[in-house]
C-alpha cells in the first residue's frame, strides 16, 4: 500500500489546481484519474473570462489560450441581436487538452504525482485514513491518505462511496451537447454568440464559441428534463444555419452541467469536494473552469491546515465549505434567480426584450450596480407595453 499526504481524485482544473497548491506547501499529493488522457474528452465550451485569469494568476499562453474574445452577441428567437463588445480582450476560448496538460506539468514540477487510467473501485475509512482500491491499467492497487479531495466531475462517485450524497436532481442539471466544427463562417470571430428561445433551446441557449479561424465549439445546454435530447435541438439549430451546416465535425462533446445550485455540504470526515462534483458552476452561463480552480486552491489551503494540525474531522474540514460560500458561493447563489428567469420567458418575451433592451441596458443590469428602484425605472420605461414582463424581470434579476 502506498501512503500519501492527500489524494486527489480527478485531474481536471479543480484537481490539478489543488495538487499544485498542495505541492507548493510540500505536501505529498497524488492525483488519480480514470481517463487515459488529461483534458480529453472535454465536456466544455472552453470559454474563460479575463477576470479569472487575474484571480487565478494565469497568464494566457498561445499554446492553450487560442482565441481572444472581445464580448458577446445575444440573439432573440427571430434573430435580432444585442451586441456587447469591448475594445479590449474580455476573455479567451481555450484548448482544454493543452490547458490541462500545462496545469498538470506545473503541478508535477512543484512536486505532485499523477497517475492515469486509474479507476477508484472502492473507498473506506480505516484508522483515521481513507483506503482506496484502484484499478490501474488492469492492476489492482491500494493507496491510503488521511484526506481525499474529490474533483471527479459531475458523475462523482468517490464522495458517495464515503457516505456523502452528491447526486444531482434532474431539474438542477442541464443536458449539454456540442460539436467542434471547422469550415464554418458568417459570424464575428471576436465574439461569443448566444441564441435564446424555447424552440431553439428549452431553458438554455445554443452557442458558438470561436476557437480558430473557421473553427468553433457549437453547442447547446437545455433543461435535463426536456422531452427531446440536446443533440436533437443542436442538430436542428445547425441545420437552420447554412453557414454552420456546411462545416465538418472534428470533435463530438457531451455532458451534464450542474447549474441548479451548490452542494450544501462540501466536506465530511477525511473528505473535501471541489469543482463539478460539488456542483460549483455559474448558474446562469454554466461555466465552471475558473470557479473550479479557485475552489481546488481553497480546498488545498484548508487541506494543508488540516495536515499541519493533523485534524481531518468533519468539524475542522467544515472550514472549506464555509470559506467557499463566503468567497464565491453566496455571490453565485444570487445568480440562480437569473437561471429561473430563462424558464419564465416565452419566445414572444425574448423578441420584445431584443426590441426594447439595448447593449448598454444589459451591461448596466449585469454590472450589479443598479438598485431595485433603478432597475424598476429601467424596466418600466423600456417594457412599457408589457407590465407582466416587468414583474418577471424584477423578480428574477
Amino acid at each position: 500500500m502506498e501512503e500519501y499526504g492527500v489524494i486527489i481524485i480527478g485531474a481536471g482544473p479543480a484537481g490539478l489546481s489543488a495538487a499544485a497548491k498542495l505541492a507548493e506547501r510540500k505536501i505529498n499529493a497524488l492525483v488519480l484519474d480514470r481517463k487515459q488522457e488529461i483534458g480529453c474528452p472535454k465536456r466544455c465550451a472552453e470559454g474563460l473570462g479575463l477576470g479569472w485569469f487575474r484571480r487565478l494568476g494565469l497568464k494566457p499562453s498561445k499554446e492553450w489560450a487560442v482565441m481572444p474574445i472581445y464580448g458577446a452577441a445575444l440573439y432573440s428567437p427571430l434573430g435580432k441581436s444585442v451586441v456587447l463588445k469591448a475594445k479590449k480582450v474580455a476573455g479567451y476560448v481555450l484548448e482544454r487538452k493543452m490547458f490541462e496538460k500545462a496545469l498538470a506539468i506545473d503541478a508535477v514540477k512543484k512536486g505532485a504525482k499523477i497517475r492515469l487510467k486509474s479507476n477508484v473501485k472502492s473507498a473506506r475509512r480505516e484508522n483515521g485514513n481513507v483506503v482506496i482500491d484502484v484499478n490501474e491499467l488492469g492492476e489492482i492497487k491500494q493507496y491510503s491518505a488521511p484526506l481525499i479531495i474529490a474533483c471527479d466531475g459531475i458523475d462523482s462517485r468517490i464522495a458517495r462511496m464515503l457516505g456523502l450524497d452528491t447526486t444531482n436532481k434532474l431539474p438542477d442539471v442541464d443536458s449539454g451537447f456540442q460539436y467542434e466544427l471547422t469550415g464554418i463562417d458568417g459570424y464575428d470571430e471576436k465574439l461569443l454568440h448566444l441564441y435564446f428561445g424555447n424552440e431553439i433551446s428549452p431553458r438554455g441557449y445554443c452557442w458558438i464559441f470561436p476557437k480558430r479561424r473557421g473553427t468553433a465549439n457549437v453547442g447547446i445546454g437545455i433543461a435535463g428534463y426536456a422531452e427531446k435530447t440536446a443533440k436533437y435541438y443542436l442538430d436542428k439549430f445547425i441545420a437552420s444555419h447554412p453557414n454552420l451546416s456546411k462545416g465538418s465535425i472534428i470533435e463530438v462533446n457531451s455532458g451534464g452541467i450542474p447549474v441548479g445550485g451548490f452542494l450544501e455540504k462540501m466536506h465530511s470526515d477525511n473528505l473535501l469536494i471541489a469543482g463539478d462534483a460539488a456542483h460549483q458552476v455559474d448558474p446562469i452561463h454554466g461555466g465552471g473552469i475558473g470557479i473550479s480552480m479557485e475552489a481546488g486552491a481553497l480546498a488545498a489551503e484548508v487541506a494543508s491546515e488540516a495536515v499541519a494540525k493533523n485534524d481531518f474531522s468533519e468539524k475542522f474540514l467544515g472550514k472549506y465549505t464555509q470559506k467557499w460560500y463566503a468567497l464565491r458561493g453566496n455571490q453565485l447563489k444570487k445568480r440562480l434567480k437569473g437561471r429561473h428567469l430563462l424558464e419564465k420567458l416565452s419566445d414572444a418575451d425574448f423578441e420584445y426584450l431584443a426590441d426594447s433592451i439595448t447593449a448598454d441596458d444589459v451591461l448596466k443590469i449585469a454590472s450589479g450596480d443598479l438598485d431595485k428602484k433603478a432597475k424598476f425605472i429601467l424596466f418600466a420605461k423600456k417594457l412599457v407595453k408589457r407590465p407582466g414582463l416587468v414583474k418577471i424581470m424584477m423578480k428574477y434579476l
Binding site: R34, K35, Q36, P41, R43, K117, N119, G153, I154, D155, S156, R157, R160, T167, N168, K169, L170, V173, S175, G176, F177, G224, Y225, A226, T229, A230, K231, Y232, V252, N253, S254, G255, G256, P258
Partner: protein
C-alpha cells in the same frame, strides 16, 4: 425493470451517472455500467442523456 445503453450512441459523458438517485450507473472511462438490480425506473437517466443513448428495458 431497468435501463439499457446503446454503446454506439453513448458519448460516455457520465450525465446519467450524475442524476441516478440509486447510484446504479457507473462510468468506467469509456463504458457505462448499469446495475439494474437497484433501478427504480425513475427514468431520470433516460431524460438526461444528451444523445438519447439510454432506453427502458421493455417487459417481455
Amino acid at each position: 425493470m431497468g435501463v439499457k445503453v446503446n454503446r454506439e450512441k453513448c458519448c460516455y459523458c457520465g450525465a446519467c451517472v450524475a442524476v441516478c438517485p440509486k447510484n446504479c450507473i457507473g462510468l468506467d472511462e469509456v463504458r457505462i455500467e448499469i446495475d439494474n438490480s437497484k433501478c427504480i425506473d425513475c427514468l431520470a437517466c433516460i431524460r438526461m442523456c444528451p444523445v438519447g443513448a439510454l432506453g427502458k428495458i421493455e417487459k417481455k
